[in-house]
């Protein structure tokens, strides 16, 4: 595949890197020496923007990975603040503690009561440390399950926002049953007696993502990713070389377009040119319009039919030779 060869896109990346380095150098110079280099900086900035345009017109899978992980990409709190009203955050799994890497809330979408669960990445280092970079412990998944059960009790739809590098790989997470917590959520979500809508907004990191992503409809932002293993991890295992992550990103078929072709994702939500971080409100609007289109219909389906349809959806994913 063309996508696996570094080729021209790598050249563009290097050009961009050089230009950004030059801008940074001139800024520092202008600040330290108190001279006005605004004109020069603007010229180079314009050239950098041209290169960015070239990159984002046809981003490689590895570029898409960078976009999905972009530090300025809209976070769960941005989506929640913009899409919902009457938000009441709920805390704790009632068993061990409250996991800030997972956010759960009661909310209204255009007046309709819904239950929101999602990975809670931070916007800066301080927030990310507090929220463990959106990597939940078992208690995070158990909190999500508790709140989804609440949705089931009142037959409110669940809206799950996925954005995590993965479940936290730590000793305490293992001791408290990370695998069990994920397995339990997957099983329970597969038969949760209320509609479940999944929106993959950033990184869909393996089992840690799937643990809140089994539902009736899976939506995915254009430059989000969803993968069984990180490209770095894949490259390290397969080629014993984590620097081959770009190749692995292509091989893993982790983009929204790939996943739609594999029937894992039902609908791709468009992002602004260059990625959601360039115009967060546009990305949020795309999610809003999808919720408007799908939520009313999902609520009307009889539960048994809904569960049959959900079972069949996952039952059919895969490619086998008999």
């Amino acid at each position: 595949m063309a996508a696996t060869s570094p080729g021209p896109s790598t050249d563009l990346d290097r050009q961009l890197q050089d230009l950004e380095g030059e801008i940074e150098r001139l800024r520092r110079l202008s600040r330290d020496q108190a001279i006005d280099l605004g004109g020069e900086i603007a010229t180079i900035e314009a050239r950098a923007e041209d290169v960015r345009k070239k990159i984002y017109t046809n981003p490689t899978p590895w570029h898409i990975v960078q976009l999905a992980r972009h530090p300025q990409r809209p976070r769960l709190v941005d989506f929640v603040a913009s899409l919902f009203t009457d938000v009441v955050e709920l805390h704790g799994d009632r068993l061990f503690r409250d996991d800030p890497a997972m956010l759960t809330a009661l909310a209204r979408f255009e007046g309709r009561p819904v239950v929101v669960v999602g990975h809670n990445k931070g916007k800066d280092t301080k927030e990310n440390i507090a929220r463990n970079f959106g990597m939940p412990y078992p208690e995070g998944y158990r909190k999500a399950l508790r709140v989804m059960r609440l949705a089931e009790k009142f037959h409110y739809p669940v809206i799950a926002f996925v954005d995590t590098p993965g479940a936290f790989p730590g000793d305490e997470a293992e001791e408290r049953g990370q695998a069990e917590a994920i397995a339990r959520n997957i099983e329970e979500m597969s038969r949760l007696r209320t509609p479940v809508m999944v929106v993959i907004t950033g990184e869909g990191g393996s089992g840690g993502a799937l643990a809140i992503a089994v539902g009736d409809l899976t939506l995915m932002l254009q430059y989000a990713i969803y993968t069984v293993i990180s490209p770095e991890g894949c490259a390290a295992i397969l080629w014993r070389d984590a620097t081959k992550a770009a190749e692995a990103a292509a091989a893993l078929r982790l983009t929204a377009k790939d996943l739609q072709a594999l029937e894992i994702v039902d609908e791709i939500l468009p992002e602004p040119f260059g990625g959601a971080h360039r115009d967060p409100e546009a990305a949020i609007t795309a999610v809003r319009s999808a919720l408007q289109r799908h939520l009313p219909g999902m609520g009307q389906m009889p539960v048994e039919a809904l569960l049959e349809q959900r079972y069949a959806k996952y039952r059919h994913i895969g490619r086998i030779v008999a």
């Binding site: 397995a183 597969s190 969803y226 039952r315």
Partner: protein, 306 residues
Amino acid sequence: MLNWLRRPKYSSLQRRDMPAGLWAKCPRCSNLIYRKELERNLKVCPKCGFHHRLTATERLEITLDQDSFEEADAELTSADPLKFEGYPQKLQEAKEKTGGAEAVITGEGTIDGHRTVVGVLDFHFMGGSMGSAVGEKVARAAEQARDRQLPLVMFSASGGARMQEGALSLMQLAKTSAAVGRLHDAGLPYISIMCDPTTGGVTASFAFLGDVILAEPGALIGFAGRRVIEQTIRRKLPDDFQTAEFCLNKGLIDLVVTRSDMRSTVARLLSFFGAPRVEPVAVAVEPATLEPADARAGGGSSAAEQ
């Protein structure tokens, strides 16, 4: 003092220099064991109790009543939907090495007379990894149990999801867990047995969803790999971390059962949960011993690769 707890290094397990002839070297205690004695002892080291890995075929042999097994979907295998570099060759090698078509064998048989659906993952087939075909076969096994009102017994040994099938492999966690969920809804028993090693996506799906979860002594059981965890927490983990005994102590599994007691333990559980006993069996409750390795093609004494 903790020497008996120390897990064998993968490197020592992967060594191919086990004497091919009459003697086998135990990877834990390094003693040379007369191979026939090892086979007679269900591939458990008579010196130190180390449970050597079994192939799926060997596991079925020592678990099910003689001639009771009817395999399902023996030919079913994964496609190469991602056109993933080197995957067709790896699949082919695994098929030749194990003589099977995939990393799990499923079917129906009896355990001490109790009719049950059974599945056994084979770590020797691409590390027991779960791709589309493994997910499909496990889901079918759960559905078959439900249709025929039978229990499900699953022996797991797997490195997790098969990355060569990308997100399709990840979705098998959902497929298998959903099928197991329906089995639970139908009120049928599901016994999950974790063998060395059971990690990643298989633990995060059907393996941890059993009504009762058993494990073999010393089996490695966990979600994330030791190296990844050590890099994350920047600390060395204790030697017994993620062993079956560690998991028992942390409340994650029900019982650690030695190989020689496994068959009778599963039979007792099936009996307790009211699994129908088809016929009074003349076969002794004692598990069958493994045939000498030289009687079979391939054999299972060399460790898995992946």
